[in-house]
Amino acid sequence: MPTQQFNVNGQAVSVEAPSEMALLWVLRDKLGITGPKYGCGVNVCKACTCLVNGRAVQTCVTKVSSVAGKQVTTIEGLAANGQLHPVQQAWLEMDVPQCGFCQPGQIMAAVDLLKRTRNPSDADIDAIENMCRCGTYGRIRAAIRRAASLMA
């Protein structure tokens, strides 16, 4: 079985996995990194969203071989040096989560959006497709705005 080498949350990893395997299963089932969630497997719910080289990707449709040598950031690696990321801070201030299952993906999508635009418009936020069955959308919108101001 081929060895896949990449970097997760600042750590170099080397893992035996078929090249075709989705990154999500390598993270969850081989590396025990469970922040990214399975919700659909077909790039629809976005609960598996992580960052690869700083940009959001859906790990359920990302071949592990495609991240060779790249930096993968999961929710577990977002708080650098024990300091919460401003998006996490805003999430806490706005008390966003209900059940919490989709929230790692929501937070990673928000981090990505704020990297792309410092002051996202309503339309930018509307374009986030991450599913939340509990209905936290209103607070996510408020938390993204709050995070934008924290990061300004």
Binding site: V26, D29, G39, V44, L92, Q98, I128, G138
Partner: protein, 737 residues
């Protein structure tokens, strides 16, 4: 003005004979007004009073959460609350935290009672405790109501065990509360935003093997043969391929073929590679049209409207709905040893889950340990334990610990659904004359719904088996009894509509169903709120003014008055837009909602603004209450406008959120205001399910006002066109990026 219409210290109530303009003027003139709480009294109309509700509504006095509270009460002393030497109260909560915030709210109640800060209360999720009997079911919006009366005794007992005297000085006046009533972040918020919160599939149970299934070509179809087992067993990472055994102690074990592999990715690939010959299920040949035809036929004729009255007749259809929690059906079961089993899963009824799995494995109930893992949503779905049954059988057959996860497509197609239903209504209205304003003489609503599986009973084996005799038959006298009891103790009317009745006629189709957030209430009450608007129109009255006149209870009027003011009810709206209003009571909570709807394209309506006032009695955590209201709004948008299941030849066609289009960010209004009514000393009421119906009614009514079309068949918006995943298959692993 009659004194009754003046609150002791608030502004005046709206004039009784409101037209829309009058109400708007009142709302605009009294912005604060809306502090007009408990205004109470019936409007002193100069006209005919509404006819009292006949028979009186017993749900006002006794409802399903009362029944859960009553049955839970005897074992409340066995609930574990301990005070440690470190001054921390540790509460082993015998309920499932599914995202509704009960753990936080109960911790707040304990902290307030004990006189400690919230940081001195820790909450864990109790394993199935069989000695609790009926006191470990999470449902019916009952948790806070069931615990509220017992918190003082639990704290006293915890202190006694720690050698301390009973607590003293616990405030009883809301103004003195230090914890209750303050906006409080969820206890697990930090764990959630850092990815530390562990759901069932995140647990590191030693030896647990990823397992996925292929499920039949029809709901509860059968497996006739697996035609390429050796080839699939030879695939990379695959450890086992097993047909799920038939049978079941309380409810049937879901049929299918399970694959165990080193990773879920390999299990899914192997599932896709299976060549299976499927047999029919009990829903063979049934599609939406045939099901709705049977449901219509199940409803007896309504009584004719009396001479001299106008009959307002209407028929409504609600398609089946799937709970679709983000966390799919899943469970870990270790049944590898002959004399014991251990379960890890999100379970709303863990006691009966463990007991029935014990029966299915030939074990004693005491030989099964069940760990309740906080779940990624549930919405009623996890009142049954289908994945636990499957995982137990597969673990027993293979000798491996089974970590079972459904594919999303099977989570939609092969779990359990809210029953599809037809509602038929006839309201008899005495038309207005020059001298009299008109009134509602009677209101009949008859519901034909596919039978609701309620064989979970009160969460333990006795009441479950009582509902399941004879075994494995979908509709039994026992199940019918539960179903009608739940209906009659949940669904009621806030209005004085004379001779008023709602009746449920369950259709014994063998379709997998289960309670869905608010069970029968949301569809039934949404229908009634639509008819209320149509009656008001017949009587020439403004919808809000009409409701104020006909609402039975002061707290219902108070939330309506509050919301009408805050939302500027009656304001001018641009063409294609409209406001809609609705009022609701459920589980002792009162809510009223005004929405604004953009219906310029009637096939793609968008809710643009929601104002929701809610009276939950004593508000424990206003932040959590607001969250549940947001959830209710998302749910209402989804069920009324956006989505429902399409059943064709015994199988739902939808397989993910791009086909079952539950609301996303772009569907959720940017203006949402939730007004939590202040604590006036009423006991805490239900919350988890109660905030769906007022928004649902308001959206439907706004649709009618904006488009001139009568909302009758839900969902109202155009549905996505898609090519379904073929029956009995899983979606292909998509093209990788």
């Amino acid at each position: 003005m009659n004194d009754d219409t003046r609150s002791p210290d608030g502004p005046e109530a709206p004039p009784a004979t409101l037209n829309r303009r009058g109400l708007l003027q009142w709302a605009a003139a009294t912005p604060a007004a809306t502090a007009a709480l408990g205004l109470g009294a019936a409007p002193a109309t100069a006209h005919a009073l509404p006819l009292p509700l006949t028979p009186p509504d017993t749900v006002d006095l006794y409802d399903v959460a009362d029944s859960i509270t009553q049955t839970a009460a005897p074992t409340m002393p066995l609930v574990r609350l301990a005070l440690g030497a470190d001054g921390v109260y540790r509460f082993d909560m015998p309920r499932l935290e599914q995202g509704t915030g009960i753990a936080t709210a109960l911790a707040m109640m304990i902290a307030e009672e004990a006189g400690v800060p919230l940081s001195k209360v820790q909450v864990s999720s109790a394993d199935a405790q069989q000695e609790l009997v009926f006191n470990q079911i999470t449902g019916g919006s009952s948790t806070i109501r069931s615990f509220a009366p017992f918190i003082p005794a639990l704290v006293t007992a915890a202190r006694a065990r720690a050698g301390l005297p009973p607590q003293a000085g616990t405030p009883r006046d809301p103004a003195q509360f230090k914890v209750i009533g303050r906006r409080t972040a969820k206890l697990d918020a930090l764990d959630i935003v850092t990815g530390r919160k562990k759901f069932t599939m995140d647990l590191d149970v030693p030896g647990a093997v990823p397992t996925m299934c292929r499920m039949p070509s029809q709901m509860r179809g059968t497996v006739l043969s697996v035609n390429n087992r050796p080839q699939v067993l030879a695939m990379p990472g695959v450890l086992a391929v097993e047909v799920i055994p038939r049978g079941g102690a309380v409810v049937g074990i879901p049929p299918g073929v399970a694959v165990m592999a080193e990773t879920f990715g390999e299990a899914w690939d192997a599932c896709n590679a299976l060549d299976i010959t499927w047999g029919d299920g009990p829903m063979r040949g049934e599609s939406d049209a045939s099901i709705f035809a049977k449901l219509r036929a199940a409803i007896p004729p309504l009584l004719p409207a009396p001479l001299g009255t106008i009959a307002i007749d209407a028929e409504f259809t609600w398609r089946a709905a799937t709970h679709c929690p983000l966390e799919v059906e899943c469970a870990i079961v270790d049944a590898t040893r002959p004399d014991r089993a251990e379960i890890w899963a999100g379970m709303q009824t863990p006691i009966v889950a463990a007991q029935s799995v014990a029966l299915e494995l030939g074990l004693l109930p005491t030989q099964v340990k069940a760990h309740v893992i906080p779940s990624g949503g549930a919405f009623g779905r996890r009142l049954f334990w289908d994945p636990v049954q499957v995982a137990a059988q597969i673990s027993r057959k293979t000798g491996l610990v089974c970590k079972l996860m459904y594919h999303r497509s099977d989570d939609i197609r092969h779990t359990r659904q809210r029953p599809p239903q037809v509602h038929r209504v006839r309201a008899a209205v005495v038309p207005p004359t020059l001298l009299l304003p008109g009134k509602v003489l009677s209101y009949q609503q008859s519901i034909g719904a596919v039978r609701l599986d309620a064989r979970h009973g009160y969460g333990e084996i006795g009441t479950a088996l009582g509902g399941a005799l004879p075994p494995l038959v979908a509709q039994t006298v026992g199940n019918l009894g539960y179903e009608e009891f739940f209906f009659k103790t949940m669904v009621h009317s806030p209005y004085h509509f004379g001779l008023s009745n709602k009746l449920l006629f369950p259709l014994a189709l063998d379709m997998p169903t289960v309670s869905y957030r608010s069970v029968h209430i949301q569809p039934a009450r949404t229908v009634e709120e639509i008819i209320v608007d149509e009656i008001a129109a017949r009587l020439g009255k403004d919808p809000a003014a009409f409701r104020l006149e006909f609402l039975r209870l002061p707290r219902a009027k108070a939330v309506l008055q509050r919301v009408a003011g805050a939302a500027q009810w009656g304001k001018a709206m641009p063409p294609g837009f409209a406001q809609g209003v609705a009022v609701h009571m459920e589980s002792r909570s009162f809510s009223a909602c005004v929405v604004e709807l953009d219906a310029r394209d009637p096939a793609r309506c968008q809710v643009t603004r929601v104002t929701l006032a809610i009276d939950v009695g004593r508000p424990i955590n206003p932040s959590g209450i607001e969250q549940q209201c947001h959830g209710g709004i998302a749910e209402a948008i989804s069920l009324v406008l956006k989505t429902g299941l399409t059943i064709r030849d015994g199988l739902p066609q939808e397989t993910s959120y791009n086909q079952y289009t539950f609301a996303r960010m772009r569907d959720f209004p940017k203006q949402v205001q939730v007004i939590v009514m202040p604590d006036l000393g009423e006991p805490p009421a239900g919350m988890g399910e109660v905030a769906m119906s007022a928004p649902a009614g308001a959206i439907a009514n706004a649709y009618a006002r904006a488009t001139g079309r009568k909302p009758r068949h839900f969902p109202l918006n155009a549905q996505p066109v898609f090519t379904p995943v073929p029956p009995g298959q899983l979606p292909a692993v998509p093209a990788f990026t």
